[in-house]
Subunit: 339 residues, 2 copies
């Protein structure tokens, strides 16, 4: 069997699987942010005509998947596999959406790194000829995440300065072989789980930054590339604190991330006047920013090659209550436009 | 790109990825059952020297992975990817084990179908030349599952006759290219999420059986095979009620499952004198039975070709409380011994 790998951790895709379409459906706060024009639907309120926030999260997830299929001119019966997940216990928004879409479903959980995980596995399915097209999706909802991980909104608890605001929204991408895709996936670096001993569940940027550095360094080491080889290096939801730590950690390893070549989706998605403290977070943060901002930049040829890395904090209320530290994980992939 | 598929849902692996080693670590109840001789470690008590059942689940998960690597004469640094999950919220047993193993980690959640999901994706990684060897693992723990999904054990609640007993244990397999593997994976059929409207969270066999039938029928339709082409057709944890429903559903579609050609791991793992009501369940049920019973049968050439299908019920306490029905999912793969 031919080995489609370079270095220790990086996969090379000889077939360069294409992104055939993408869609993002978000909540009202995201919809009044700077990426407003890029979203396919902004729901009027966080309940989205449902009886619970969890049902709204499920409806938003399904809606994003359906919009993605429609934009690519595919029906659900054309799609050979669906890969995705969310932050709800037992990834129920994705699972219930898969029920209604009736596509063979492989559920994923990588916390907020899930969209990158799904794109990497989706690219492998397409590149290897095991399935195409493949639907990749990840989502989150502020109100369900607060209730599940912290406190129900009704408590009105005060957020710490390091806290991040979970994005309400789902981003979906359809991958396949195409001569004229929106963008192509050329490489992927799947990350290791890294734990530097952070215990504060309200400071997830700090918990995730070491994993992000580990994956970025592995990617540069494996490919022989440097930050200069990318028009943009993009992290998922490190937020203000995590981004600063990542920049610092990379600098110590002689890789320079600057305001020009590096951005974090969590610092891009919300209007700064909507004070969300340390930034946006959640599976939906990088997934919707990918569809609403990153892929359009590539389509318009403003960026020719970007390194997209979604980051996840691996914790549950139980592990936090039992005194466990919070490890992070980060998965990166290279997106290229048509030359 | 060559298409390695037949029919609508089935993948064919031209490279026939091999199972290089496997291991199963289980709790005391499983250890006094009929598969006792096949387990690599039976822990003396469900706490496994830890301070909580969740920590025990994590320790058992890691132990199974380490034993699997050791049996295959691999160290963690040799392994290029780890795919796995468990039933804990946010799959924390798998995630924390991945931290200690330091292998690039792709977290999965397919409820009790997780071991089949991980073997299918692992086989794709190996067959396509994207990673090898790959570690696939899934686990569960009776005491954490009771606390998380039902009641803490201390309540002493009464179990209904349809209830199944979550297996305490983790099964792990190492996949790779080898001229002399324990068994080979030749085909895989990933399942759709199917919901027939079951709402009783204590009758998961009934919730999963329609998905199992959907996947089996898709597999037979895609491959042109019949049950007669397999020495054994194996379901994960349908239990007594789910197995009967599956047999009935298959009969209606002219596929005959009998006591001779069909078994369910949930009906095999416990001693009948340990009355577990409708049978065993949990990610660990099919994963440990695979390692302790199915793979040994293939190695001893008692079975030449089996269809292994793990089944999952997709629910959370929140979806149940909100009145949602319980969909199921089932993923199948073909295991062959050396001819």
């Amino acid at each position: 069997m031919a080995q489609h790998r370079i270095g220790k951790q990086t996969i090379v895709f000889p077939g360069k699987p294409g992104i055939l379409s993408s869609a993002a459906v978000v909540g009202p706060k995201e919809g009044r942010g700077p990426l407003a024009d890029g979203f396919d639907l902004v729901v009027n309120d966080a309940l989205f005509n449902q009886e619970s926030y969890e049902q709204a999260e499920h409806a938003i997830f399904r809606e994003a998947c359906e919009k993605c299929l429609k934009k690519g001119n595919f029906s659900n019966t054309d799609v050979q596999a669906m890969l995705g997940g969310d932050l709800l216990n037992q990834i129920m928004a994705a699972s219930l959406s898969a029920r209604e879409l009736s596509i063979p479903f492989l559920g994923l959980y990588g916390a907020c790194s899930t969209i990158a995980e799904s794109l990497i596995l989706g690219a492998i399915l397409v590149d290897g000829g095991y399935a195409a097209p493949v639907l990749c999706a990840a989502g989150s909802h502020f109100c369900t995440a607060e209730r599940q991980y912290r406190y129900p909104l009704e408590y009105g608890n005060q957020r710490t300065p390091a806290a991040q605001w979970t994005v309400t929204g789902t981003g979906a991408c359809l991958l396949g072989a195409s001569s004229n895709p929106w963008a192509r996936i050329t490489h992927a670096t799947a990350g290791r789980v890294v734990d530097m001993g952070i215990k504060d569940a309200n400071n997830m940027g700090a918990a995730m930054a070491p994993a992000a550095a580990d994956t970025l360094i592995a990617h540069f080491r494996d490919t022989g590339r440097t930050p200069q080889d990318y028009d943009q290096i993009i992290s998922g939801d490190l937020g203000r604190i995590g981004s600063e730590i990542l920049t610092e950690l990379m600098k110590k390893n002689d890789y320079l991330l600057t305001q020009d070549n590096y951005m974090d989706c969590g610092l891009k998605i919300f209007d700064p006047r909507d004070d969300v403290h340390a930034g946006g977070s959640g599976c939906g943060c990088s997934a919707t920013t990918l569809s609403a901002y990153i892929l359009p930049k590539i389509r318009k040829r403003e960026w020719k090659r970007v390194l997209f890395m979604a980051t996840g904090a691996l914790l549950s209320t139980t592990t936090s209550q039992q005194g466990e530290t919070i490890p992070g994980v980060a998965h990166a992939l290279v997106l290229e436009g048509e030359m």
